[in-house]
């Protein structure tokens, strides 16, 4: 079982990202779960979305999880949300930021003993310059594919095209570019 926790603001697309990831993963024959903790959340409020991925049917419905991956798609949440909640010695962090990894870790005490498990990528800049809007979810998927080694990039792009097939070609292309850039730039 692989467990993923997304830290996002309502409206940034964490739920869509989690569901998109679920869609892609399901085409590989695996079982997935994608859910979020929201309700009366307002646009801009901090929220969390979750994925579970397994080889057998997922029957765990508790909201609690010990994440294998923590994906932070809003730069400020790395500072204001407890992104290390319930982590494991192996939990990997992918954080969107314009800072370098060293600069970021220097400012967040809880990450200092996890340096080798923290990865950074500027999903905001990537989504602005490719998609034209601050929707950091798709670039985060590219970064996740790289760090998790769960898929080959080309395979993931092909599957993602299908998930996005209801959108105009221009949007599909810019999303593919965003995923590819984040894949190459995450470090």
């Amino acid at each position: 079982m692989v467990e993923i926790r997304w830290h996002s603001r309502a409206g940034q697309g964490a739920v869509t990202g989690a569901k998109g990831l679920g869609d892609v993963v399901s085409t590989t024959g695996k079982q997935v779960q994608a859910f979020a903790l929201y309700g009366s959340a307002k646009r801009g409020a901090a929220m969390r979305a979750y994925n579970r991925i397994d080889d057998t049917q997922i029957i765990n419905h508790e909201k609690f999880m010990l994440p294998d991956y923590v994906l932070v798609i809003d730069p400020a949440l790395a500072f204001t949300d407890n992104i290390t909640d319930n982590d494991k010695p192996s939990t990997k962090y992918i954080i969107t930021t314009h800072l370098s990894k060293e600069e970021l870790i220097a400012q967040i005490p809880t990450l200092q003993d996890k340096k080798d498990r923290v990865f950074v990528v500027d999903c905001m800049e990537i989504s602005l310059s490719t998609i034209g809007r601050a929707i950091p979810n798709t670039p985060m998927l590219g970064a996740f594919v790289k760090i998790s080694k769960m898929f080959e990039l080309d395979y993931f792009l092909e599957r993602m095209k299908k998930v996005l097939s209801k959108f105009p070609q221009k949007i599909i292309d810019s999303n593919m570019e965003a995923i590819t850039r984040a894949y190459n730039e995450v470090n």
Binding site: K19, S26, Q31, V32, G39, S40, Q57, N60, H61
Partner: protein
């Protein structure tokens, strides 16, 4: 003619979307609906299917849930296949008309996406609305995940419309935990799903002017009792038809449903009885506890909450030593409903196992595997002692001082 929708063999759908597709595939004549969280996406997506030509029937937007169910009653009496969806306060507002629908023996399918009842206002899942419907004369089927929400909707039409049943059917799923959680779902192709549900066969329909009939007549002490007794008997007798439809569904899909689902119960010494997604979480906890500590735990659930499977509950649990019934609804000054009904069923067995009650998960409070295991171990302690070692009713996951009521008099 409705457009065919191209469903994949594996879809990643949440419970709401799965239910909406099942309704679309059943080709309903009338859906009258008033949306409410967390069931909104069912009627929202259904409305989109109608607008895009995937459904031939009517989608009627109304001004309240009372009107929604009233519209369903009218359309069903007129002689059509009818369904809608609601939750919580909307369900509460429908309540008056729910009794009308069952009393008039109208096979309406109602998706209830379970949510807490105010006050305090809360949009998350618990079983308050489901329990509110338990004396309404409807058949109540309970899904534990999105796949089951889809499957049970298809079964619901078959069961309710069966000429020897002719009763309305609710399909329950847990708000958010099922309704907004996307998981792998294996839907049937449109033509297969429709073939399973079958054409709607009108019966005593008001629009047949050659044979005028009356719905909703007044009966005082002369006939009211006989009507209600007949209605109750129909509900009790629907058990056989439910079994038959489930068996047919298994033949078609390989997915087996029973009025009482039981897991690892054959050799179990203690058991949990629960409803909804908690059942699956408990299965996982029971498996872990068997591996980690060798405690033989089983899990039992009334898939069919109404008619209450008194017979099958007794069969499933009569050899277990200690049982905990988990109720996800504030019992309002009594023991939980599941506790009361399971206890009553077991009282007429030789063994009369120890039964305790936990109230849990109100307003969407998380129910974890760790907590399920703690409760299971507590049942093992009762079984070993031979009597209930705690208060009979307790609260799980409640903050503040421990709360509990009543001690056993049987030592």
């Amino acid at each position: 003619m409705a457009e065919k929708y191209d469903v994949q063999e594996v879809e990643v759908w949440d419970g709401n979307y799965a239910a909406a597709h099942a309704l679309r595939q059943a080709q309903i004549d009338v859906v009258a609906a008033y949306p409410i969280t967390p069931s909104t996406p069912i009627v929202e997506n259904y409305g989109q299917f109608v607008a895009n030509g995937y459904v031939d029937g009517e989608f009627v937007m109304v001004e309240s849930e009372h009107a929604a169910m009233s519209g369903c009653v009218g359309a069903a009496a007129a002689g059509g296949r009818v369904a809608t969806a609601t939750s919580s306060q909307g369900f509460a507002l429908m309540c008056e008309v729910l009794y009308q629908a069952s009393g008039m023996r109208l096979p309406i399918v109602l998706n209830v996406v379970n949510r807490a009842l105010a006050s305090p206002l809360n949009v998350r899942g618990d079983h308050s609305d489901m329990y509110l419907g338990r004396d309404s004369g409807w058949i109540q089927l309970d899904a534990f995940n999105a796949q089951e929400a889809y499957d049970l909707n298809l079964c619901a039409f078959r069961i309710g419309e069966h000429l020897s049943v002719r009763l309305p059917v609710m399909v329950h799923q847990d708000g958010f935990v099922t309704s907004h959680t996307a998981q792998n779902v294996n839907p049937l192709k449109d033509e297969d799903a429709y073939a399973f549900v079958g054409d709607f066969v009108p019966h005593e329909e008001m629009l047949d002017f050659s044979r005028p009939v009356t719905y909703g007549a007044q009966t005082e002490e002369d006939w009211h009792f006989e009507h209600k007794a007949k209605q109750h008997k129909a509900l009790m007798d629907s058990r056989a038809i439910i079994d038959e439809v489930f068996a047919d569904f298994e033949k078609k899909t390989g997915r087996a449903y029973k009025r009482v689902e039981s897991y690892m119960i054959e050799d179990a010494e203690v058991a949990i009885v629960a409803l909804g997604t908690t059942v699956e979480t408990c299965i996982l906890a029971a498996k872990q506890l068997r591996e980690e500590e060798g405690i033989k735990v089983g899990v039992v659930s009334p898939r069919c909450f109404r008619p209450f499977p008194f017979d099958k509950i007794r069969e499933a649990l009569e050899n277990v030593n200690a049982i905990c019934c988990l109720d996800r609804s504030s019992p309002g000054g009594a023991m939980g409903a599941l506790f009361n009904e399971v206890s009553a069923a077991l009282y007429s067995t030789q063994k009369r196992p120890l039964v305790t009650n936990y109230i849990y998960g109100l307003g969407g409070r998380d129910f974890s595997i760790a907590e399920a295991k703690r409760i299971m171990k507590e049942q093992k302690a009762h079984a070993d002692a031979g009597y209930i070692t705690t208060e009979i009713q307790q609260f799980s996951g409640l903050r503040g001082p421990k709360l509990g009521f009543f001690e056993t008099k049987r030592r």
